[in-house]
Subunit: 513 residues, 2 copies
């Protein structure tokens, strides 16, 4: 049995029998986090933070701007005062924590697209919600539908990206029809689970219908399993706005997961201490997931965390900082305390896909890994604090994610791998290049990078002294040029088109705020 | 008590009383690794690797090119055959492991320069042994004494660098007098513990004498504590060359630490499996440290590890790869198994201080952190697989090391830090900028980066759209321009100069090989 077979790496791109294998086969789907989580706080202080969050919801409350959501909270036993402040009894929150699932499987078009979230199962997701796009050729500019489609293509192209994302805002498409175009692009250019905007009930219902068409599901079958997701950001501190509440309710009702993610910048919309910022975020996430469980006990939710700090001189948000990493470790402890899958965040404040973007991003990725995040949001393509999606950064990040995926594969150490006989085979000062122990393994032993250039200085110089971001520019263009969309039944495409045409004729669905 | 005071951060650069504090005080000396080590192998397989390494030394042996070393091994009970193969009984190795210390304190000029190595105590050390220097202005070129002196200045300038290193080879100084110039530069431009070349006994004794002059130590006082170090690389597989053996013996005799570091590239001079490469490295390190303990039981040694993989197409060495990270975790397990402080390695194969250099370096740094390395060698300035020291990379790495140092500071989570009252102080949708909880902490709450630029896109563009490596270029020049050498007693400088003048007149000390 070869090393490669032992590791189960013979993926869909494996070479056929009898054909010379030129590229190591890899599969980065179904990743499992093999690293032990690190602790930012002692267990008793995690309990104290959880308890304080319950106190915040019980004594201070959370302002709920959506009338229906207030009514649902009230019917479940919460008190609601005249200025829309909802106070949640801790028993209500604890019951919601009990009914929320600990593991979620999110389905795409085929069995290989299914993504586990929870326990050791983790997933990587690209940049979401950037108003701008940039590349080294054209610089920064408003996002378009073509840019969004290109980022969907790249997300489909790399199997280390597991779920689609609201990558860039297609600002050339009106907001009352944008969700149609984004859903159609996700469902025809990719097979991976799509996102859906939480911009009011009409848009959500439209997108659910399109997903049912694409996946061939009855409303009941759709509601029985997760097939898409949305992101819910609370308005920290202590406020849930109208569309966010509506999204929680619509998705819970439809059995679709919400990522309930307070965006708490310590020292700005949250306490300046990371413990305080995490406690506030925890309270807000608990309020959101309680609403989901009130609507439908057992509704899939992810505990979202996006806690970082600001530059205290300018108020600018920062990402991938020491505080960010420690907050990710702490958020993981809080998520495990309530045993709900959690979505972490990857980020950088850098304005370019440069060295700063690289180290801030990689530090935040390590925070996700060691914090045990199940869902790494914004893990490819994000720069400028999320204001811009960068094509080159997407490639840089995919390379880093592939390195993580390979790092998660345990090393073997059976007697043959320890290799006393191989060591005995080579004389002092000799080399292992041609021994059988090497020859039988070398094709598959090591990760082959996509972006890293390991040539020597002379070869690299002769080839133009390209830095990694310049090579990334070539790579994304080549990958897009070579992209082959997945086969989609023409009848499905026709049905999607007909649905969109009808709904556009009916006036579309303007976002609700 | 302020947050800053609680953390004990008021360092030597703290603001005076009554003066407006403009910069957060930091101190990155005396770092402690607060992260739990990660495991690459199960404990029983670590034991199997250790046992296999003992078998390698017992049954296969290690070739020892140095006659005196062979005699020492033989006198201690090893068998030595006619082709210089030394076979070590496992009892001899186990006794050496017992006598080698578990913790080392390495001393510099002052108490604040002392560095702990072992247990939680860790240290960061810059690039060593690069033949070339590069910067963005002048490109790559052979190293000179001025380059080496500049890298000593930078190592002294940043307190996150704890120990000096043989940064770049000063090729403009002849090898029979190079050690004088390097020692003089280290002892007059810096206060941190210096390195000494292991290029034969005469050079080592010269350097020991210079250190005794600079530190005002008798030979006995010098031999009683570590004041310098050297790096010993075995000639993998299974070979110890003449100067390396000599270095181990000379340093052990003088009570000075050696970093016994097999450089095992899996698939080249070591088995292609990481378990095999680590086992071979372990055997070689055990042979070296056994020699040190034979010479002087209790001599300080560091268990060195530099195991990575090669590009199996070209044979080029690679660093910061998934295999590299896992090897660092495994090396840490082996080092803890024998309970000896261990030196890890940081690296990249990139030819420029670019994004690839950044992620490969940062991945390898995380391998060191999570592997529990006590000594992070090559942690600032290394590019091109160690062939070049890059000035910009030095700054990039110092920024990353500072981020690590800050990440190692535990977060507080007492009741005031969790901050129920602060959360209660801010209304839903409000902000925390001006509350007392923030105001009393904001100056010191967060790391202030040296290199990262958190300005918004407009400000960054107006300022010239500099990427991080371009900013790093400005920073190292400014730091060198502003550098103030530490005060050194003129009598010491005079004595050093007199010693060097005399030894040069006597013909210097050519390297021995």
């Amino acid at each position: 049995m070869t090393e490669r077979e032992r590791r189960g790496r013979r993926g869909r791109r494996g070479a056929s029998e009898g054909v010379e294998e030129t590229k190591r086969a890899t599969s980065y789907r179904k990743l499992r986090n093999t690293f032990a989580p690190q602790q930012a706080f002692s267990e008793d202080r995690v309990a104290a933070m959880h308890d304080t969050a319950l106190r915040v919801l019980e004594e201070l409350g959370i302002k709920v701007l959506n009338e229906d959501a207030r009514a649902r909270f009230k019917a479940a036993g919460a008190t609601v005062d005249e200025d829309w402040m909802v106070r949640l009894d801790r028993g209500l929150v604890e019951e919601a924590i009990r009914t929320a699932p600990s593991h979620i499987t999110l389905y795409g078009a085929g069995p290989e697209d299914a993504v586990g979230l929870g326990g050791p199962d983790i997933a990587f997701v690209g940049v979401g919600g950037a108003p701008h796009i940039s590349d080294l050729d054209g610089g920064k500019r408003p996002g378009t539908m073509e840019d969004a489609a290109n980022l969907i293509r790249l997300a489909q192209e790399f199997d280390v990206i597991h779920i689609l994302a609201p990558n860039v805002e297609p600002q050339d498409v009106d907001t009352h029809i944008r969700h149609y175009e984004m859903s159609r692009a996700q469902l025809t250019l990719a097979t991976k689970p799509p996102f859906v905007y939480a911009r009011g009930r009409p848009q959500a219902l439209d997108c659910f219908e399109m997903i049912r068409i694409a996946r061939g599901l009855s409303p009941e079958a759709f509601a029985a399993n997760p097939y898409c997701f949305t992101v819910i950001n609370s308005n920290s501190p202590r406020q849930l706005d109208i569309p966010m509440c509506q999204g929680i309710m619509d998705f819970a009702e439809a059995g679709q997961p919400t990522l309930i993610t307070p965006f708490t910048l310590a020292g700005a919309m949250a306490p300046v201490t990371m413990a305080g910022a995490l406690t506030l975020a925890h309270a807000e996430a608990l309020a959101g997931l309680t609403l989901a469980q009130i609507v439908r006990p057992g509704a899939p939710v992810l505990y979202g965390s996006f806690t970082s700090n600001v530059d205290m001189k300018s108020g600018s948000p920062a990402f991938g900082t020491p505080e960010f990493v420690k907050a990710a470790l702490g958020a993981g402890q809080l998520a495990r305390y309530i045993d709900i899958p959690w979505r972490g965040s990857v980020g950088t404040a850098s304005n370019a896909p440069d060295e700063q973007a690289t180290y801030e991003t990689l530090m935040s990725m390590w925070g996700n890994l060691l914090g045990g995040a199940h869902w790494w949001q914004h893990a490819a393509g994000w720069i400028e604090g999320g204001l811009t999606a960068s094509m080159e950064k997407f490639i840089l990040d995919v390379e880093m994610l592939q390195i993580f995926a390979e790092t998660l594969v345990p090393l073997g150490a059976d007697d043959d791998e320890i290799g006393f006989d191989a060591i005995a085979d080579v004389a002092p000062g000799g080399h292992f290049f041609s021994v059988e122990h090497t020859m039988s393994r070398y094709r598959s032993a090591f990760y082959e990078p996509m972006l890293s250039d390991w040539r020597n200085f002379g070869q690299w110089t002769e080839a133009g002294s390209e830095t990694a971001s310049t090579r990334a520019n070539r790579i994304w263009k080549q990958r897009l040029a070579d992209f082959v969309p997945p086969p989609v039944d023409p009848a499905i495409v026709e049905a999607l088109d007909a649905f969109v045409a009808r709904r556009r004729e009916e006036g579309g669905a303007p976002p609700v705020s």
